[in-house]
Symmetry: C2
Subunit: 515 residues, 2 copies
């Protein structure tokens, strides 16, 4: 058994566990509110041994998956990625798994009927963000294992933490149960898409398919695997997520009717209008001069301020998490307006944003090139908070530009989704908290994830399901170079692959047993 | 003899020529002001025959040169390009040619002592702009020959018109004279650099070398070969050129101390500042809201308004050139503010500009990528008019940014030079006009080229030389994809390679003979 067995070591801190262990036998790890489905000591040991035996396979599962990048924006390996996802599900014990065609790239759904009373739904994505190998310190598809000081050994690769690593941990948990001959105590429904990184434009088609929707409706709720433990092992339990609209704003001679239709020599600027300047002028109206607050007409009309409970949760989170570590990890010296950590976290949870993901116009190589470009593009993402909606945001941005005479500035929507909220009292959230507590992990309730996922497709009608995230382990660098996921932890607070897999096993029992 | 022999056909329109031809013999093409060096009928015929015999070699000379791209911004083939330039000069009859080392990339200088009374200096560049083969309809280094409707057959390639084609035409004229056994009637001094496209940061070192400067000081003036005839065969004679500063404005977390030092997930925008927004905000202060007039503090302080004579020349140019053709060529529907052509040309000659050559920040590939970039760059060129200077422009831009709190926004200067002016009454300008007139080409005096070249190194002390451009032929697409230069003209008004080479031959005689 690993010396970093979170479940056997850390849980010793919990009185209830201590008592059980001191007694020498009996059911292990029964939380105060769990009664129906106990995970007894023997069963736990057998599954854990299977998870340990599967450690190398679990690491290889991540590496092999990383080696097949599916990128919707580039139409790269989409069907291959979907089939691979389907095979992974079958391999982990899903008794039914199939490709779900959409008007875009295909999804996958899978079910595992364990004859259980309750059903748990799982959200996977098989796509990853684009990457530029030149920016990486090891090849982004090769999954090299490197030392991450303070954490241990980690796989470096595109998708390592977002989402192949955490998803592989869940699959690892199922493999361990299967190898141990133990049926999961809940039925499972898995829905997976390949367009998460472009804003899930066709995911609604997947979850709306009558047979899939019927299965999802039977579930207690849906969750997405994560691996976001910090150095102290802390995690957040998110009660929702921001929405997002991803789009390009494009100024061009072609649409404008002014400026050139092709790139021309820059000396002509004295007599020819510039689409690049037009884009800059349109952009600068979208935010306050410090670039930090949206200035789009009516943007805050439906923004719901934080509730007292939400503020309370954020204050708790600020108190229990390490500001210095977070700044160091992000390589950020100051929060906006030099805000104290608590206020910065309130801003993170409560404020909609207009972010520039990228700018591209004219000549972008080394040095200069004396051209007047015919076209300029800003790639933006707009993060939305309750009760903003994606449709509202798109309409308001268009109206804002039009009102200022920028009718010609094209909005090319890449995708997006509404913000999502799940109640603190839902079974899935309570099961998350209980599972974290049982693992001795400090779980901080967070009113809202600042990132986005298509949870609203679940939380909004017709499904109206609770939705959350759950998982142990640590990784970072989502969407950035040298993205990584820890597989062998040297930090006693942070899970490696075996503990991360076992966390899902325990979570299934929590969902099955919580009142 | 080609049916498009501009010198024999078009000059028939001139009474003085008609008279000579009607007389059946005697000197051909003696302009009213040329007496000292006649180019007699026999000599002209022999040189022209040699030029025709060299037609294929002349075309190949352009293609071979295009196949060797020297790009200073990428440190590509710089010494190779300089040696090639040197070999081209020797091959064309320069008796002395050598590499001139600088602190940057090397230049070349060459001399041809013809025992003549007058000396003419020539400026060449051996470098070209960057290119993206994906944007071209034929490989940019292969010099494919394609049909250009309205013009004839043209070589497509990077450097075709800027400047390898026109420069090869001058070399072609020298080859023809050499083959015909005729010594040029002027001594020649050639100075060439490989850093024109990055703003000639080390050219001053070349022309300041005592032996080179001594030779240049003996000259009547210096000129740069061009091939800018329009469909009617018209050309402009420029009495100067705008200056330029090329630079990058860079906003970064690193310099700012705010925002991230590396790209981070875009959800963090709600609590972390954005260097990309900072760049946008800094940029938008540099121009008026329409993007057309510099708004940098004190920018117009030393701008000299057009003189009455300059306005007169522009009015003549507007009347004699084809606005519709120009718009069509540039793919531009409207000039700035929907100005009439004359006013647009006045703006072109008289106004300084702040142009965006390129924007690059964060993710620039297809689709989107939810990052908050740590760095954003705007590539700018600032065109300067008399009596602005490069030093003044750089100081004022820095002061403007600093005054608005953008001390952290870095100015990375790529290069540049002052505006330049040459008097209408200089021998070199009068020789240009005479040579154009003799070729039956409508030459329009233009107060100022809106483009830039390092002419101020010649026109300013200590050299204080007149400087101009001269040449026949047509090409377009400088700095753009599918740059081309016409080698076989089907347009009776436009020179092919033989006529373009012969134009330089005649120009040498005009410089030698003009009063």
């Amino acid at each position: 058994m690993s010396k970093r067995d979170l479940f056997s070591n850390l849980l010793l801190q919990r009185d209830v566990v201590k008592a059980v262990l001191l007694a020498g036998f009996g059911t292990l790890l029964i939380g105060s509110s769990s009664v129906a489905f106990a995970l007894d000591n023997d069963e736990y040991s057998v599954i854990r041994k299977a998870a340990e035996a599967g450690r190398d396979a679990s690491i290889k599962r991540i590496q092999d998956w990383i080696a097949l990048p599916s990128i919707a924006a580039e139409d790269l390996n989409m069907m291959k990625g979907a089939k691979y996802m389907m095979a992974l599900a079958r391999d982990a014990g899903f008794d039914q798994a199939e490709i779900v065609p959409t008007d875009g790239h295909p999804g996958v759904w899978a079910t595992m009927d364990n004859g259980a009373e309750r059903t748990l739904a799982i959200y996977f994505m098989y796509d990853v963000k684009q990457y530029d190998p030149a920016e990486w310190s090891s090849p982004p598809l090769e999954g090299h294992i490197v030392d991450k000081p303070g954490f241990g050994k980690a796989i470096v690769g595109r998708g390592a933490v977002n989402q192949k690593g955490p998803q592989a941990m869940l699959l690892g948990g199922l493999h361990a149960m299967r190898a141990a001959g133990v049926k999961p105590p809940v039925n499972l429904v898995l829905v997976a898409e390949g367009e998460e990184e472009i804003g899930s434009p066709h995911f609604q088609q997947i979850v709306s398919r009558p047979d899939i929707m019927a299965k999802l409706k039977q579930s207690e709720g849906i969750f997405i695997p994560i691996g976001w433990q910090d150095k102290k092992g802390n995690v957040g339990v998110n009660l929702g997520a921001k929405g997002i609209v991803e789009l390009e704003l494009i100024a061009s001679g072609e649409n404008w009717g002014r400026g050139p239709q092709k790139d021309i020599h820059s000396s002509l600027k004295a007599m020819v209008d510039s689409p690049a300047w037009r884009l800059v002028q349109a952009l600068q109206t979208l935010v306050t001069p410090d670039g930090n607050t949206p200035a789009i007409d009516g943007w805050f009309e439906n923004v719901r301020p934080l509730t007292e409970r939400e503020k309370e949760l954020i204050a708790q989170a600020a108190a229990s998490s390490d500001e210095a570590e977070r700044k160091q990890l992000l390589e950020v010296k100051h929060w906006i307006d030099d805000l104290p950590f608590k206020d910065a976290l309130e801003r993170l949870a409560s404020q909609p944003t207009v972010n520039i993901e990228g700018l591209v116009a004219g000549y972008t190589g080394p040095g200069g090139k004396t051209i007047l470009p015919s076209r300029a593009v800003a790639k933006l993402d707009l993060r939305l908070v309750p009760n903003q909606t994606r449709v509202e945001a798109e309409k308001k941005l268009r109206a804002h530009l039009d009102k200022r005479g920028f009718q010609d500035v094209e909005m090319k929507i890449g995708g997006g989704y509404d913000p999502t909220e799940t109640g603190e009292d839902s079974r899935i959230i309570r099961a998350e908290i209980e599972a974290y507590n049982r693992a001795g992990v400090n779980a901080t309730l967070n009113p809202r994830l600042a990132g986005s996922w298509p949870g609203a497709m679940f939380t909004a009608p017709p499904l109206s399901l609770p939705a959350g995230q759950f998982g142990l382990g640590h990784g970072s660098g989502a969407h950035a170079p040298d993205e990584y996921f820890v597989v062998e932890s040297t930090n006693p607070n942070v899970a490696g692959v075996v503990d991360a897999a076992m966390a899902y096993v325990d979570f299934f029992y929590r969902v099955a047993s919580i009142r």
